[in-house]
């Protein structure tokens, strides 16, 4: 299942968080050879993990990490604006309707459905929070993965060649694209909807009118008894 978790709440999911940062080290340092820092716990973390990002995480049945990505608003600090302006024609991409999506990671054991579920979860975020685009940094290998699941980003700019090629790209996730990813992965809109609701709603939506009537009636009760 998908979980949406702000960094400050990761402590409530210790196994998931632990395996996510280990898997990120495995993907970005061991397999891709990126110059990322891995701490003494074996975690791959950077300064953006300290900005309370919103993680979208696939949780395996045993509670471990299957795949994830990291979202941040572009009106705050982002990796693209801090480090990759040369790939965006010098444009600082900033808008309440564009979020940054980075550290797209899949564990070694991830089934093809995990990447699709993550893309669909991203689509849910776009739909519910009025986000029109995600902007992100990725390498050549990810381009193939995105293509395979039917969600290729539009490339804004690239540097390097072959496997070393790093790009900044944009995702726009139309209803049709979402439907085709959902179909190929066998994930229904009800499932993505349920995952989203479970993370973002503290409870079932509160009927605010009923609650208002109840609380006011409760407060008035002792007075009417006295009268």
């Amino acid at each position: 299942m998908i979980r949406y978790i702000y960094a400050e709440d990761l402590h409530a999911f210790p196994t998931l968080a632990h395996t996510m940062f280990l898997d990120r080290a495995d993907q970005f340092k061991t397999r891709l050879g990126w110059e990322v820092s891995v701490d003494e716990q074996g975690y791959e973390r950077d300064e953006y993990d300290d900005q309370n990002p919103l993680y979208v995480i696939w949780e395996n049945a045993d509670g471990t990490h299957g795949g994830s990505m990291r979202l941040l608003p572009t009106v705050g600090q982002t990796m693209v604006n801090d480090h990759f302006l040369h790939l965006t024609d010098g444009v600082r991409i900033e808008s309440p309707f564009i979020w940054e999506c980075t550290r797209f990671c899949l564990s070694r054991e991830a089934t093809p459905g995990v990447a699709a579920a993550l893309m669909l979860a991203g689509g849910e975020v776009m739909k519910e929070f009025d986000i029109e685009h995600f902007v992100g940094v990725f390498d050549a290998r990810m381009v193939r993965i995105y293509r395979r699941i039917g969600s290729s980003p539009e490339i804004l700019g690239s540097q390097g060649e072959g496997r070393e090629r790093i790009s900044v790209g944009l995702w726009e996730f139309s209803g049709e694209a979402q439907a085709s990813v959902a179909k190929s992965a066998g994930i229904t809109p009800e499932m993505t909807r349920r995952w989203f609701e479970r993370s973002f709603n503290a409870t079932e939506p509160t009927p605010m009118m009923d609650l208002a009537v109840q609380t006011i009636a409760a407060a008035a009760a002792p007075m009417s008894l006295a009268a």
């Binding site: 919103l54 309440p96 939506p205 509160t206 609380t215």
Partner: protein, 242 residues
Amino acid sequence: MGYLANAPRLDALIEGLESADSIERLQSASVAFRDFYGVNHVVYHWVNSAGEQYGCGTYDDVWVDRYLEKGYLRVDPVIQGCYQKFHPIDWKRLDWSSKAARAFLQDAIAHGVGNQGFSIPIRGPNGQYALFTVSHICSDEEWEEFTTGHRRDLILIAHCFNQVALQLEPGRAPDQGQPLSPREVEAMTMLAIGLSRAQAADKLSISEHTLRVYVESARFKLGALNTTHAVARALSRGLIVV
């Protein structure tokens, strides 16, 4: 939530907000937006990069004083649910199950805050943080219709308030706002001379998709409501010349 007859248009209100150069003028902007939407309240609070708190909005002063006196900051589910977040939140999505939260809501309703609310947390640069809220008294159905229909504009207005607040940060020189990059200037110039998005993208040798993102970034930096408004603003400020 009926709209006022002869109400100013949203772009005129945004224009007024954008020219605000003091907290007092932010205050009057909050009143103008409240009247425009015909809701009970519009409130904007922010914490600047030095950690200082400010606020403006249409709540009754009695309620503001009571909120502070009762230490409601610790029980208010809106604060608990929005602090350090960056996605918009309808109050019905928050946890109102505790006794303290219910007592707080009852008091808030008694002070005219409303039983419905929609809050937009904003995380600005350098630790700056803000919360923009619209609240109202109405049924769940009416509120759903209102928020669904206006969510995008509310997010936009929230960020306009925040951009003005950032300009008011101590030590910040006037007009130190984000200048447009050369590429954004080119994109805006193409639109200003009347090219379509497709033509402009073609001239700049970028995709239409990319052009849209550059124009949207420029719109945000200019604090404009839409592309037309952004082009007009860039022209009037002399950022682009045609």
